[in-house]
């Protein structure tokens, strides 16, 4: 009953005129930015709008960020289906069947199905979050430094081992993030690390600058390699042409159910993330379908299942974010950074020390999914027109917004120089197929991870056995070993499957 009472208070706060307006604004801005090829990554959208959200009160700012996150995810499906361009890794699976449907003239219903399955799954995810998050927070009160250290390691390794194509590259990305996080003043001793005598580096590297460089400007540098012509795609003009048929809905109900549950569960695992959620959902939906041979050639189940998982994951991801302070992907890393910039430490005590932030954010997720269905679905024909804006006009604007974002953090030109460096790094990593998300997650988690490890060793007189002597930490270590072993075995099987798969025309 207390949970429902707190949720009621959360709704009351989220439905205040000011907060509701900012949530709607965030959803619209998130959709607008999320639909732009080359900037649609939700992490980039959140990063670009961070200077704006940080100007608001913490509760309002987080509500707006939840709206942006949902909007960007929703919009990502549009470019995947119409243009075969995934805005983030989790949209890749949507390209296979979604774009195939578009080529068959069913792009409109595919987008409509994406919106409807996303709405249903988001509702399921947020409903489950309402009861699971406080429970997880109560559980996490028993966690000490060794447990948090192992949990962060588990989260980072999950992203690297199960979703990336090359674990070594993923680990390199992760290590780079951890190394960058050490730049600045050591909080334990006050010593300078990797500052090279620079006052600017003494304050450390700004998270927003790293994110903008890797995800926004770096993406631009990759995209401008080719002189793009007009985006060519066919999109329906009438709203009714965007609705799936009753037969489509009947055929996909199991896929939506599977995706909703899987997405939430995977999102709730630290490091789970929408990429893993959409991939696993696609695999399970395909294996349970009556027509698995149709997957990859244009089937509604191939759109509904992953998209449901992608959206319900948002609810699940709030559990490790709010209750444990551990993000599951690049987007929630940005939200975690925002919380810390507000001076709010997410973790087991958030629900007791800052309920005025936690519950309105959860309530706004409910309202956000409704707003997306009511606002965005009818407006799809309009959003699609934005795709026709030529990229040669868009990317200079992105570069300008990058400078605004970088300078706004500390009012320092040094941060703009850092943006240049990180944009070159982001471009290089993209060209070498090195994932950037592990770097960002490791950068955000690095200080906490280091603190947890050092505190653990202090408790145990520098004995690493503390990570095996405590039951919960040992359990997490066992999970890590199982996960790594599963990843190795699964990759061997996938290599055989890929070698056997016929090439497409």
């Amino acid at each position: 009953m207390l949970i429902l009472h707190q949720l009621y208070d959360g709704f009351a706060t989220a439905l205040s005129f000011n907060n509701f307006a900012w949530m709607i604004g965030g959803s619209i801005l998130g959709t607008l930015i999320g639909i732009l090829p080359g900037l649609g990554n939700p992490a980039a959208a959140l990063a670009i709008l961070l200077p704006l959200t940080l100007r608001l009160e913490p509760t309002t700012g987080m509500i707006m960020m939840a709206g942006i996150y949902h909007g960007a995810k929703f919009a990502g499906a549009t470019t995947a289906i119409l243009l075969n361009i995934p805005t983030e890794t989790s949209s890749i699976v949507l390209c296979y069947d979604g774009h195939a449907l578009a080529k068959k003239g069913r792009g409109g219903p595919a987008m409509g199905m994406s919106a409807i399955s996303g709405f249903i799954a988001s509702t399921v995810g947020v409903f489950a979050l309402t009861f699971a998050a406080p429970w997880a927070a109560d559980l996490a009160v028993n966690f000490g430094p060794p447990e948090f250290a192992m949990l962060m390691l588990f989260g980072l390794l999950l992203v690297v081992s199960l979703t990336g194509k090359n674990p070594v590259k993923g680990l390199i990305s992760m290590m780079l993030g951890l190394l960058l996080a050490t730049v600045g003043i050591d909080i334990f001793t006050g010593s300078e690390r990797y500052t090279f005598g620079s006052i600017d580096l003494s304050d450390g590297i700004e998270f927003l600058v790293l994110t903008l460089g890797l995800f926004a400007v770096g993406e631009v540098l990759v995209n401008v390699e080719r002189k793009a012509g007009k985006s060519s795609f066919v999109a329906p003009k009438r709203f009714l042409d965007y609705l799936p048929t009753w037969e489509d809905l009947r055929q996909t109900r199991l896929a939506i159910a599977i995706g909703s549950v899987l997405g939430f569960v995977i999102g709730a695992i630290p490091g789970g993330g929408s990429t893993l959620a959409s991939f696993v959902s696609y695999a399970v939906v395909k294996n349970t379908s009556k027509h698995p041979e149709a997957f990859g050639s244009g089937t509604m189940e191939g759109v509904a299942g992953p998209e449901a998982a992608n959206n319900s994951e948002a609810g699940g991801a709030m559990i490790p974010l709010l209750s444990l302070g551990i993000p599951g992907n690049a987007s929630t890393s940005v939200m975690l950074a925002a919380l810390m910039l507000y001076g709010v430490q997410p973790g087991p005590l958030l629900f007791s020390t800052h309920p005025e932030i936690a519950w309105p954010v959860i309530a706004s997720l409910y309202l956000g999914t409704l707003a997306l269905l009511v606002l965005n679905l009818p407006l799809i024909p309009m959003w699609v027109q934005i795709l026709r804006i030529p990229y040669w006009l868009l990317y200079p604007v992105i570069l300008i917004l990058g400078v605004v974002g970088a300078y706004s953090v500390r009012g320092s030109i040094f941060d703009v120089w850092m943006l240049m460096a990180f944009s070159a790094l982001g471009y290089t990593l993209r060209k070498l197929s090195v994932p950037a998300a592990p770097m960002l997650m490791a950068f955000v988690l690095g200080p906490q991870a280091e603190s947890a490890v050092r505190q653990s060793l202090m408790l145990s007189d520098n004995s690493p056995m503390i990570f095996l002597e405590r039951p919960i930490a040992l359990g997490i270590v066992v999970l890590i070993v199982v996960m790594v072993a599963t990843s190795i075995i699964s990759r061997r099987r996938q290599r055989h499957a890929v070698a056997a798969a016929p090439a497409a025309n």
Binding site: R193, A228, A424
Partner: protein, 172 residues
């Protein structure tokens, strides 16, 4: 051999070694507890080792890179990424031209301020890099930086560089 991965692996290994040398100058343990150098030593060592592993991997026979999850990789292998219509192959020179223009504008921010610098940058990108010398481009060059400045500096009260000209218009 995958040349790009080999070079990247070597660069990462050297970066790791460099970071390790710097980290060893910090105290790994201070007063019997982990000191400021503890974590940097761990991480930089790991980086050096991983770089070496990647370089070694790249020398082996080409191995298909796959994801560990489900049948996604098999479906992915049957598809090719289709871009929008493009008018030529990938050109690193275009990227270099854009990035160099971006870098050059940073010192200009000191002297000219945000609006003028971004106007010059947009003019360079649209007229020279993209070769779009049209009325639409000219309008965009003038309107976009001014609009962004008005939105962020005037409306949202976010400080942007104002330069040294002190004309009092749009932060110039």
């Amino acid at each position: 051999m995958r040349k790009a991965d080999f070079v990247f692996g070597i660069v990462v290994c050297l970066a790791g070694v460099g970071a390790l040398i710097l980290a060893l100058q910090m105290r790994a343990f201070a007063g019997g507890i982990p000191g400021p150098g503890f974590f940097p030593v761990l991480v930089s060592s790991g980086l050096a080792v991983l770089g070496a592993i990647l370089a070694w991997q790249s020398l082996q026979e080409t191995v298909v890179e796959v994801r560990a999850v489900g049948p996604v990789s098999a479906v992915e292998a049957r598809h090719r990424h289709l871009s929008t219509d493009d008018q030529g192959g990938p050109s690193f020179l275009r990227t270099a031209a854009v990035w160099c223009g971006y870098v050059i504008m940073v010192p200009l921010l000191y002297f000219l301020g945000f609006t003028l610098t971004m106007t010059l940058m947009m003019a360079y990108l649209l007229f020279i890099v993209e070769g779009r010398r049209t009325v639409a481009s000219a309008v965009a060059v003038i309107v976009v930086p001014a609009a962004v400045y008005s939105l962020f500096a005037d409306l949202l009260q976010i400080d942007l560089p104002s330069g040294m000209l002190h004309l009092g218009v749009l932060g110039i």
